[in-house]
Symmetry: C2
């Protein structure tokens, strides 16, 4: 599978990964949430190759996850900030971080602690059902194909063949 074509897959995870699903991109986003904004700061923080960083930032901007805007003129210098769409990746990121905290932190505990400003407590993230508010886990979830899953009855003449296996 070519990753460029992944965004045409009929699966929301595949389409998401086509955009943010590469290690560097996720680490760049982590830095964004930690208020890193400038090219050189990303580079220093991540020790990423400059070419790769430039490419990733450009993609994130193109996808509307970051905005690039000048923070000074003469000479013009840019910073990258999360858009609303970018901020919405927070649940996914924090879930990965907390999973890492749980399974890979040393004895001295996690390297970063997250505090909920509103209630004032350190927290772990919890996944809940948007409808009933209960905590969710994988076993309590049932999946069925939506309208957009492999075309059921009326297939447009020139429609791309869909695959036989279920593709979320």
């Amino acid at each position: 599978m070519r990753w460029q074509t992944l965004d045409r897959e009929n699966c929301s995870l595949a389409r998401t990964l086509a955009v943010v699903g590469d290690r560097w991109t996720l680490l760049v986003l982590r830095d964004c949430f930690l208020r890193v904004r400038r090219f050189e700061d990303f580079e220093a923080s991540l020790k990423i190759a400059r070419r790769v960083l430039a490419e990733r930032l450009a993609l994130l901007v193109e996808e509307g996850i970051l905005v690039k805007r000048p923070y000074q003129d003469r000479p013009v210098r840019y910073e990258y900030r999360l858009t609303e769409k970018g901020l919405e990746l927070y649940p996914a990121l924090i879930s990965l971080v907390h999973w890492g905290d749980k399974h890979y932190a040393g004895k001295s505990g996690p390297p970063l602690i997250h505090r909920h400003r509103t209630c004032g407590h350190d927290f772990r993230s919890a996944l809940t059902c948007s409808e009933c508010g209960e905590a969710l886990d994988a076993r309590a979830v049932e999946v069925r194909p939506g309208a957009a899953a492999k075309p059921a009855a009326p297939i447009p003449a020139n429609h791309i063949r869909s695959r036989t296996a279920a593709t979320p």
Copy 2:
């Protein structure tokens, strides 16, 4: 940065990504949550190169995210199943899926619909604070270094130099 060494980074996200943070691995896990269990089924569903699939499955087993066990003898055949640790990745996965649903679904809606068995409703995932139960977003969260963040006072003699930038 070499990805093999990433698990030694002092950042839970980096350590997590060292294990699951590659596109194929995340898609393999998606399939696991959709109850795909056999080598050939993963291959057919993902159209992944067999060598890469074998490698990824082996890593996931080694990390205790999947277990490999025979489902028949004569000839012995194996299946891969999520462990408890693997199941705990669900929040991260479903958050990525729902983000994709929101931003990349076509007009006919998302390809898969998730239903909460307990309450019977189709849902979106919601991130809440484990302490107060309120919905969480990135702006309501404050971060501070934990005990494990770059060694503060007493540095063991042979300790690896820590980096200057903040690494969550």
